[in-house]
């Protein structure tokens, strides 16, 4: 079945704990692209991924994954590769045993491919899961996902805890995977540098809500960073200063591009980086967040 959307969430709401909840979460990814889900720790990234993967119930809205509703038939999981922030394999399994264990569950398991990928990734079939470094464990989970021919890869914080070399390698693996235009990737991260180059789409989460979603360039275009003297950003009308950082020598804030023109005076207005957008939006109080994508 061919679908033009890898997944879509529409108005998803889920009570999590205490006052924290996902509210009206809507975003989608066209097939064949990479999306980064960015936000501070505790913004709701993992909860969103768990809802999408049918690992958690949600109370409102609907989710579509590879053209099927979630929760849906378990056969859908044949097509999804999941790499979470922890390995969920028995530490005493050898990598050959991992294959023996998982192979019966997947209709399209390709053992030769598994061994070739391990070889490519520099992983030893005889090694035990518990002896792998974080980077090696991520690569193992990717090898598993690619060996059952997943069409969508979902990563939760894949690069956290990886050294720069391993991170670069991972970005290369994702690029390789995307050479097939039927493949898509969604990953959550708080390291925006990962997305600066390979991210096609970016979704920004804050306080359980989607602040903005779209192509990376759209997101970068939507905001401007304003740098000014200590008191030059006070008393502006019609301009919402997002995550203002103020001290005795200057002030800095994020503003929406359409509002940036309203700021006069000797302020410096520049295009922000993803990091700056994430930092400023992450710094504001969640309940002031009225902006919906």
């Amino acid at each position: 079945m061919s679908t033009d959307k890898a997944f879509a969430l529409r108005g998803v709401g889920a009570a999590v704990s205490g006052a924290f909840a996902l509210r009206d979460v809507s975003f989608e990814l066209p097939t064949g692209y990479v999306m980064g889900l960015i936000g501070a720790n505790g913004a709701g990234k993992t909860t969103i991924l768990r809802c999408l993967l049918g690992m958690r119930r949600f109370d409102a809205g609907e989710i579509e994954l590879l053209g099927r509703p979630v929760p849906g038939p378990v056969a859908l999981r044949q097509d999804v590769g999941v790499v979470l922030d922890h390995t969920s394999l028995v530490g005493d399994w050898r990598l050959s045993g991992v294959e023996r264990t998982l192979r019966p569950f997947y209709d399209r398991w390709d053992g030769a491919r598994y061994r070739r990928l391990l070889d490519e990734f520099g992983l030893d079939l005889r090694a035990r899961v518990k002896d792998l470094s974080r980077g090696m464990a991520v690569k193992l989970m990717i090898a598993v996902a690619l060996s059952h021919r997943a069409r969508l890869l979902v990563f939760d914080e894949p690069t956290s805890g990886l050294d720069p070399v391993a991170r670069d390698e991972l970005l290369g693996i994702i690029g390789d995977y995307l050479v097939d235009e039927g493949h898509s990737v969604l990953f959550s991260t708080h390291i925006t540098a990962d997305l600066d180059r390979i991210g096609d789409y970016v979704t920004l989460v804050h306080g359980g809500r989607i602040v903005r979603t779209g192509t990376r360039d759209e997101l970068l275009e939507a905001y401007r960073i304003v740098r000014a003297g200590p008191d030059e950003l006070t008393g502006l009308i019609g301009v919402e200063l997002i995550g203002v950082r103020q001290n005795s020598i200057g002030a800095q804030a994020l503003v929406r591009t359409e509002e940036a023109d309203l700021i006069g005076g000797h302020v410096l207005i520049e295009a922000p980086t993803l990091e700056e957008i994430a930092v400023h939006i992450g710094a504001r109080a969640p309940r002031r967040n009225r902006e919906m994508a």
């Binding site: 990479v34 995307l178 235009e181 180059r197 096609d200």
Partner: protein, 127 residues
């Protein structure tokens, strides 16, 4: 094909690709009919997003430099198309403009410039 991307050039990545591929085609380094990597392979090799390479290629295609074949890749179009002629013409104008600016600063007269140009054309024809 050779593409070298700068992170600090202040020029968007897609623009850098477009300019470099365009220049390679105009210089003849990429001959008519040569195959270019598909957008996805290029994205992988440069570690950049698919949207970025797609944009570079579609602008190159819109300017008549390349033709893209869905699912296959792209190849260099013949240089005689109208669009490419325009590109070349603009390059000629730009080059001459730079030359004239330098000539003005050097205090050269019209005849001096024409003489230099004639000399260059002579050398070019012999070549």
């Amino acid at each position: 094909m050779r593409v070298v991307l700068s992170n600090s050039a202040g020029v968007p990545i897609y623009q850098q690709i477009k300019e470099q591929v365009g220049a390679a085609i105009l210089s003849g380094e990429l001959a008519e009919g040569s195959a270019l990597p598909s957008v996805r392979v290029l994205a992988r090799d440069l570690r950049i997003s698919v949207i970025t390479t797609t944009r570079a290629y579609s602008e190159l295609a819109a300017e008549g430099f390349i033709a893209t074949v869905p699912g296959k890749g792209a190849y260099v179009r013949p240089l005689d198309s109208e669009l490419v002629r325009e590109q070349l013409l603009r390059q000629v104008e730009d080059g001459l403009q730079t030359a004239l600016d330098a000539a003005r600063r050097a205090g050269l007269q019209r005849d001096d410039v024409v003489q230099i140009l004639d000399g260059l054309i002579g050398a070019f024809s012999e070549h």
